[in-house]
């Protein structure tokens, strides 16, 4: 079934890496959809597979050792996994823009920022040099860089971390994206700069009807900007719902544990509650529910140890993968390849025509 309102649908995505130590199932059957103008957050700890999910959407998984073993990635109804290399290059950096955590290593130190933005513009818009430069200055102004006509001729090392991230966003915007994938965009930045960048991303999301896929480990950032949240643990989604419901009533024991282990401003507790143990290695995932060894409820329940739960809609618009979560056992069995959706107010689809736009991003792996 195609959901017309979804801009991106990821269905049963499996991305595996063949390593010397064995098969690493970095993403193992992930489903979700992103609507137009929605901010979708994918949250999880390091190694849970959130970045690999993003790189799979962009088809930037190095192959070998990586391989998208199964699934579909439908972007505006087209399966990106079946596109040719050259068609994919038009989407990547074009309709799907991306920004990464470390803006210094994503920018080329030997070219001016203007050169790098103009490169992105000329790769996918038919503009001459002068017009492209003029547009580049406009883009710099749009991302909040003061004196853009001077800044355009500066090199990345002359800019601060926050400025570099703004330049990365300008490069992503050069392709007139409908979806912006932001992988930990503020993790390397100070909180005051983080607030500026989040505000910029939110402004773009509203002003341009841009969908944002935000990948982060920081639940506080999620609370600030996301509409829908998916919590990822050990290569799978543990819970998916809209942001208010997730924060008001987290259902999966892992999500609950995460919330309890974060000190929040203005809520001083004597002791933080913790999740015991460590995140399991993808080479040695536990049997059954992958969270059961750390789970306060399921650590010695036979079913949790033996059978792996799948996301089910336990309450309207609230999906969780936990045998013991209220409503799970009576919830209807779902088709594993059907992406869950959190019920949020539907947003009308954007129908402005978009020029095809090749990549201005990092190296491509066919």
């Amino acid at each position: 079934m195609n959901d017309d309102r979804a801009l991106l649908q990821v269905r049963n995505l499996k991305t595996h890496f063949h390593t010397e130590d064995g098969l690493v199932r970095a993403v193992d059957g992930v489903n979700f959809r992103i609507r137009p103008a929605e901010c979708f957050a994918l949250v999880g700890e390091s190694g849970c597979g959130k970045s690999v999910t993003a790189f799979s959407i962009l088809r930037l998984i190095p192959c070998p050792p990586g391989q998208i073993a199964d699934g579909q990635i439908l972007f505006e109804g087209r399966d990106l996994l079946t596109l040719s290399g050259s068609r994919m290059r038009q989407v990547r950096g074009g309709q799907i823009g991306m920004i990464f955590q470390e803006p210094m290593s994503s920018l080329n130190p030997v070219y001016t920022v203007g050169w790098q933005i103009v490169e992105a513009i000329r790769l996918h818009r038919r503009l001459g040099g002068a017009a492209a430069r003029k547009l580049a200055i406009e883009l710099l102004a749009q991302v909040g860089i003061s004196a853009p006509a001077q800044r355009i001729d500066e090199y990345p090392h002359q800019l601060s971390g926050g400025m570099r991230q703004r330049v990365m966003i300008a490069i992503a915007l050069a392709g007139q994206p409908k979806l912006l994938i932001a992988d930990e965009p503020t993790t390397a930045l100070d909180v005051t700069i983080q607030a500026q960048i989040l505000e910029l991303i939110q402004g773009l999301q509203r002003g341009r009807d841009l969908s944002v896929m935000l990948i982060t480990h920081d639940l506080a950032v999620v609370a600030e900007v996301a509409d829908t949240v998916a919590v990822m643990y050990a290569s799978k989604l543990a819970e998916l719902t809209d942001v208010r419901r997730l924060f008001a009533d987290p259902l999966h024991p892992y999500t609950q544990g995460l919330f309890r282990s974060i000190p929040r401003l203005g809520q001083k507790a004597d002791r933080l509650q913790t999740i015991p143990g460590n995140v399991p290695s993808p080479l040695a995932f536990p049997s059954g529910c992958k969270f059961h060894p750390r789970c306060p409820i399921g650590h010695d329940l036979p079913r949790c140890r033996a059978e792996e739960p799948w996301l089910r809609e336990v309450a309207p618009g609230h999906w969780a993968a936990c045998w013991e979560c209220p409503g799970y056992q009576t919830a209807p069995q779902t088709d594993p390849s059907e992406p869950p959706s959190a019920t949020i107010s539907p947003t009308p689809a954007r129908d402005a025509p978009t020029a095809p736009a090749p990549a201005a991003g990092p190296r491509e792996h066919a």
Partner: protein, 353 residues
């Protein structure tokens, strides 16, 4: 010998400058990483030091331990001025001060086993004869929540949280009384960070440790520290007991910093006090109050003042009008009249509280 009021570390007027050399070895000034800092760490308590990158908080921690030479100022540890100590006395003072680093990967030598790493401070300080070291290492591992079976493993065999525990065990090996925790949890995942924070707090209770806890995460510091000092460009702009600082932040920088922290509640997407611009360079800090070019309060107050009392900053964008005094006069830390332990360094708030 111990200070009567229980101050284990007393820092006065600390400055750490890094000289800069021009192209042809011509000196042209210095990076004023720390520029006049006063601190007191009380015995058995935690002083949180917060600030953004480049504020000088890490340099304070390292200078206090003598890892970076101080340019000026006095560092007294347990009543002794460290600058006056030499030889054995210095070594014995330094045994009692330790550090836990941010990055649990680069702070452990990959070619040493856990046992070698943890016993190094014991060997260096000649604390125990060889035959008793093994038992002490096992004790230390258990103290930080690791199994003593791990003694012969190498750092790469551990996860980030476990490595941080090894770093803590190493810091504890010389039986210190005071530990500088330099961003001890920033490199860790949230579920692991909570475990490490709880461990540090248990160790403080059991061993009576005093911490200088350096962090950029204000929520973590609120949770962990008894007293908090906020740094901006090498200076402390506000210092107060944790409860008082978070309940009533007074310096405009502290207010902006606290307001920038996401509250973690989707129902309260905060209207932020937006802090314009970025931290200026400590090579050429702004005159007067270093915060004045970004300060919302001085901009607001400048609107109602006669032009003679206003200073105009011309930069990249719109010219900005600030109170002239903020651009000319260097503020000093002063107590709030009703709550003396709460100090701040804002000229405007000191004049019109």
């Amino acid at each position: 010998m111990s200070d009567p009021n229980g101050t284990i570390l007393r820092v006065r007027g600390l400055k750490t400058h890094f000289p800069l050399r021009g192209g042809l070895l011509r000196r042209r000034g210095a990076v004023r990483a720390v520029d006049g800092v006063d601190l007191d760490v009380l015995r058995g308590q935690t002083l949180g030091l917060v600030g953004e990158s480049g504020s000088g908080k890490t340099t304070v921690g390292r200078t206090v331990l003598g890892l970076i030479p101080a340019t000026a100022g006095q560092i007294c540890f347990d009543g002794q001025d460290l600058a006056g100590l030499r030889g054995k006395a210095l070594k014995s003072a330094r045994r009692r001060m330790q550090i836990i680093f941010q990055d649990p990967v680069s702070s452990l030598d990959p070619r040493m086993t856990v046992s070698q790493i943890i016993s190094e401070p014991i060997v260096a300080n000649r604390l125990l004869p060889r035959r008793r070291r093994g038992r002490r290492v096992a004790e230390l591992l258990e103290l930080v929540g690791l199994s003593a079976r791990y003694v012969n493993r190498y750092p790469h065999e551990f996860s980030g949280g476990q490595r941080q525990r090894i770093g803590i065990a190493r810091a504890l090996a010389s039986q210190p009384e005071f530990i500088v925790c330099d961003e001890p949890i920033s490199a860790l995942d949230v579920s692991i960070a909570a475990q490490i924070l709880n461990l540090l707090s248990d160790l403080q209770d059991r061993l009576g440790l005093s911490y200088l806890f350096i962090a950029h995460n204000l929520a973590v510091v609120e949770h962990f520290a008894d007293e908090v000092a906020v740094m901006y460009l090498g200076k402390i702009v506000e210092r107060a007991p944790s409860l008082s600082l978070y309940a009533r932040p007074t310096h405009p920088y502290t207010q902006a910093l606290l307001s920038a922290v996401p509250k973690g509640d989707p129902e309260q997407r905060s209207a932020k006090l937006r802090l314009p611009g970025e931290t200026p360079s400590p090579i050429d800090p702004p005159t007067g109050c270093a915060f004045h070019p970004r300060c919302a309060l001085t901009r607001q107050m400048a609107q109602d003042l006669p032009m003679a009392q206003v200073h105009t900053i011309v930069g990249d964008g719109e010219p900005v009008r600030v109170v002239r005094r903020c651009a000319e006069q260097t503020p000093q830390l002063q107590s709030l009249p009703d709550t003396p332990p709460h100090c701040h360094a804002c000229l405007l708030r000191q004049e019109y509280p």
